[in-house]
Structure formats: structure tokens, C-alpha cells
Amino acid sequence: MIKKGYYGHWGGAFIPEILFETFKELNVYFEEAKNDPSFWEEYLQLMSSYSCRPTPLTYAGNVSKHFGGAHIYIKREDLNHTGAHKANNVMGQGLLVKRMGKKRVIAETGAGQHGVATATMAAKFGFDCTIYMGEEDVQRQRPNVFWMEKMGATVVPVTDGSKTLKDAINEAFRDWVTNMDSTHYVLGTVCGPHPFPEMVAWFQSIIGIEAREQILKAFTKLPTRVYACVGGGSNAMGIFQGFLQDEQVGLVGVEAGGKGLSSGEHASRLAGSDASPGVAQGYKTMFLQDSDGQMLDTHSVAAGLDYIGVSPILSDLWEKGRVRFTAATDIEVMEALDLTMKKEGIIPALESAHGFVQAFKEAPDLGTEEAIVINMSGRGDKDIFTIANAYGDPSWKKFIIERAEQYKNDKE
């Protein structure tokens, strides 16, 4: 018999005893919501009025022509409220929190998108909100910190460990074991202990449901392949679920190749060979860890992909050969981003641009009678500091220096 919360031999719920009852309650509410059609209706209603669902599927005609192969379609999760697919999960969990009667939400965030989405949801539903964010990510994604605070959330920079996403998750758990009666932990991705992978995948499945309908309408047949970047894996699971049953559709997850798979500075769990099975942060999956089982430092230009583990559901689909995994390096990401902006006037987030890299590599080898879909998980304007820095953009630098001078003078 397969135990609940397991996908193959991945997943589980490795939780401290203090949270046992909290998880029991969460499971009950989640199962109830899942089996209540009015819950999903309320969710759709909310996402179509407060966010922009269904998000469009954009035909990228210019890049399609540029590569001369498959027709490239882009699923526009960037057009969600708060600019990323994260809103799908957060608003869903928000409705669940309302049902549970809790008054406070906490969340971890890497790129800051999940934090912003959670702060937004908390503002709308009237919850207190605390966001844990690695200190390094606070530096990388300062504009998101600004918006979270403006929406009334408390942002706590996490200075432990590698000061990135995994450390923010640990800190959120430490808050939760203290305040579980009043507080729900809005985990941002398809990782962590059961029921989180299943729950987040369920809310994100809306992407795939829409995308499948849309591509059939726009192209009259299924795509040959679907591409998505993979950090924890929530946007990928979201779109993949729409095509899992269509065996002819290839599913491609693109991980952060950082400075290259052999550099030791990347966040590729399934595409590379540095990861091994492990149990941390409440679940079993492929982790980037050393031979003692200590987690390694990861690297990516994209804060949202900079993570040691990957969804147990994706580890299972990888093991079964249903999802193929590749990696995109920081440099390739900047090139794909550049091309997409110039040719389509679309700015993918650095995270999303990883999916574009692999799609662009493979599109020329496919026929013009074929289509591929890229999940654009979020918009890139949040990354303006990182992107401008990576390009070494002189006029931007000048602007920042001038603005800093101005602030300095204001102070005096």
C-alpha cells in the first residue's frame, strides 16, 4: 500500500510532534475543501476578479520565426495579480485559512514573489502577516521587501545558514511551532511535509487546466513539449498537470545551472548528478547535500530557484521518466531574457527565463507543424536591480548613484 503523501518513495511528513495536531487539522480542512465543489468555485471567482485569470496564452510569433522551428506559445502567469503564479497558491490557501478561522499567516520567500503574494492576500483577508526572507535575498530583491512592508507585513531577514530560501523555510517552521494555534504557514511551493505538495499542486493546477484548453483552441492540437523552470517546482507542477495524461506531450523542467553543472555553484537537483536522496524540511526528495547529509550552498542568479530540494512529486515524475530535466546557466538566462524582451516586448522573471532557455535550444529542431508552450511563471521587472547589474547597464548605474547622492544630501 502506498502511504498517503507519498509519490513513489518521495514525500512523506517528517514533522516534529508539536505540529502533529496542526497537520491533522490542516489535512481535515484540505480534504474537505477538495471534496467541496463550492470551494473551487469560490477560488475561481476570486482568481478571475481579484487576479487576472484565466491568464492569456500568447503566441510568440517573432521568436518562433527567429528560431524557424516549432511555434512558441507563452503561458502568461506574469499577468496574475502581484506578477507571478504564486498568487494562485496563496489565494487558495487564504480561503482555506478563512475556513480554519486562523488570523495570522506566515510565509518564507526567496525571490520575494511568494512573500508579496502572501502579504497581498493577508491585506485583503485581514490577517496579520510575517514573511521570512534570507538576508541575501533581501539584498537581491529589495523592491519586493518594500511592497511587502507597504502592505502591512513584517519582513524578517534570516541571517542563519546560507541566508537564502531554505533558511527562510526553517525560520518559518520555528515561528509555526510556537504559534500554531493562531497561525497558518502558507508554504510557497510543492515541497515540505504532506499535505503541502498536494495542496499547492492542486491550487496551481489551474495553470495547466487553462493552458491545455487554450493551446487546443489556438493551435487545434496539443503541444509537442511544455517547458517550465523548477525551483521548488510549483509553477512546473501547475502547468504539467494539464498535460500529464497526454503521453505524447513532452514535459521539460529546467533547473538553475548557475555557473555550470560542474562548477558546484548551481541549484540543479535532478538535471545534474550532485543531488542524492535525503530527508529535510519535512519531506523526502533529491537534495543537494554532502556525504554526511549536510545541505550544500546553492547558487542561481534567480533567487526563486536557489533551493536545495525539489518537489517530491517531480522527483517521482523524474524517476518514472515522465518529466525530463535540464539546466540553464546564469549566462544563458540573460541571453534568453534579452532575446525575449527585444523580439516580443515581454520581460520574463529571471526564474521563468530558465524555461525559455531550454525551449529556445530545442525549438529549431522541431517542425513548423508543431507547437511548444513555455510557462512564464512571473514578470521580470521585479528583477530590475539584478538584471541591470548583470547587464552592467551604465545609464542605470548613473541613475542609482545620483539617487543615492540625493538621499545622502536629504539626510544632511
Binding site: A13, F14, I15, P16, F173, V177, A280, G293, M295
Partner: protein
């Protein structure tokens, strides 16, 4: 009955309450660990919990978290921890247990880890992120070697849940005194009395109480209520602030 439980029960015939202390292996160094253990044993500690550092210690508060991270960043390896533990159990004749997170066992191989711990005379394990539902293999392997897979009760645990945990446990039960992580102060109040009564009604195993025990007053309060008082974060703080030699007088002052 495990060897550990026998030893504890024997000690309880002579003392009203036992003391279990804690340290993080390799923090601040194995040399200091050795001196701290010497001081603890000399001053009447009944059992010592040696924590093998892990990079993601989610159940631990800032003090022990920092100790875990510094130990690892100073290059401490699991093998060194195991070799050090073997030296210690050969030198000091009180029960020693390992506290760590599940990934350390999982990565080493659960059976191999338990066998290794058995060989170096470790009496039991505390694995805070391994509930019995996920730890069947571990519980069975440890029990088959007469070692204790020590289970944890929390104030949020129902009596039914405690009974299930106790069935899976051995040696003693680690009762977490309050919500939250290690290292914060605990208020011992009426709720706590009810909690301990619930723990007692669910198991015959000795009860250890940990999280926030800092002073003689705390130990006195637990005396008659619990069997073992657990001193965790406080000795790490003491070593950080005043050095290893401060541990002896502190332990002596507790009882």
C-alpha cells in the same frame, strides 16, 4: 526493558530527580566538549545527550542552531563525532544518547548508523523530525538491539497520541515543556501540571522534561512531577560566556 530504562530506574531509587544535559558535538570544539562532559559527570549528571550537528536543525532555537552551524562550518564531520563519542563512552560510565535529525541517519544508512551507535555503546536516540509514522524501520531496528528510540511528547499531544508514541518508544519519554523551539524560558503553571498528568496517564516510561530548564528553581519544581530534568541551551550559553569550567559549579547548583 532497555538497558537505558534499567539504568535510569536504578538511579531513580537513589535520587528524586535525574539530570540529563546536552551538548552539540564539535561546538565550540571537541576539546571543550570533552572538558564539559568531564565537569558534567563529576557533578552528578545522570545522562548526556550528544547532538550530532545538522545543517537544518528546525526544532532548535537560535543558540543551538548557531552551535550546529558553527560546528559544521568549522569542518566537523559525522565520522569525527562518532569517534569522539566512542572515546567518551569508554571514559565515562553514564548513559549517552545521540540527538540528531533524521537525514544524518538516512544518509548514513539507518541500520548501519544504529549498528555503529550500538558498537560505541550509545543507549538511545532522539530524532525530533521522525514521527513513528515515518520511522517504523528505525524504531524496530533500535529496539531489536535493545537501544531506545526515544519518543517525544508535546503539550499539543492528545492522550491517544501519547499512547501511540509510547508504544513506539523505549528508555524514557522526552516531554517538550512548551510550544516553540529550544532555548526560551518556560512558565511552569497549571497547564503544565495537567500536561504532565496526561503524560503520566499515557505511559509507564520515565518522563524527562526539557525546553527552558535553567535553574535550581526549575529543577525543584519538576522534582516529584517528572523523573528527569533536561538542561539544554543553558550549558551552551554558559560555555559561550564563561567557558567550560563554569559548567561544573552550575550543574552542582541545580540539585
Amino acid at each position: 526493558m532497555t538497558t537505558l530504562e534499567e539504568t535510569l530506574r536504578e538511579a531513580l531509587t537513589r535520587k528524586k530527580i535525574l539530570l540529563m544535559t546536552h551538548l552539540v558535538l564539535g561546538y565550540p570544539s571537541f576539546e571543550v566538549n570533552r572538558e564539559v562532559i568531564r565537569q558534567m559527570v563529576k557533578n552528578g549528571v545522570d545522562m548526556i545527550e550528544m547532538q550530532i550537528p545538522f545543517s537544518e536543525p528546525v526544532a532548535d532555537g537560535p543558540m543551538i542552531l548557531k552551535a550546529n552551524q558553527e560546528s559544521i562550518s568549522r569542518g566537523v564531520k559525522l565520522e569525527q563525532c562518532l569517534e569522539f563519542a566512542a572515546e567518551i563512552t569508554a571514559e565515562f560510565h553514564i548513559p549517552f544518547i545521540f540527538m540528531t535529525y533524521y537525514n544524518i541517519l538516512y544518509k548514513y544508512g539507518i541500520e548501519a548508523f544504529i549498528d555503529r551507535a550500538y558498537d560505541i555503546n550509545i543507549q538511545g536516540f532522539i530524532i525530533p523530525d521522525l514521527p513513528p509514522e515515518e520511522g517504523k524501520e528505525y524504531v524496530e531496528l533500535a529496539k531489536s538491539r535493545n537501544m531506545a528510540p526515544i519518543q517525544i511528547f508535546a503539550p499539543t499531544s492528545t492522550k491517544e497520541r501519547m499512547q501511540l508514541l509510547a508504544q513506539n518508544g523505549a528508555g524514557f519519554i522526552y516531554c517538550v515543556a512548551r510550544r516553540g523551539v529550544t532555548g526560551k524560558k518556560t512558565d511552569f503553571d497549571q497547564d503544565f501540571n495537567e500536561y504532565i498528568a496526561r503524560c503520566r496517564s499515557a505511559t509507564n516510561l520515565p518522563l524527562a522534561v526539557g525546553f527552558g530548564i535553567r535553574s535550581k528553581k526549575d529543577v525543584d519544581f519538576l522534582s516529584g512531577r517528572a523523573d528527569i530534568a533536561v538542561i539544554g541551551t543553558e550549558t551552551i550559553r554558559l560555555v559561550d560566556e564563561k567557558g567550560a569550567e563554569a559548567v561544573g559549579p552550575f550543574i552542582a547548583s541545580l540539585r
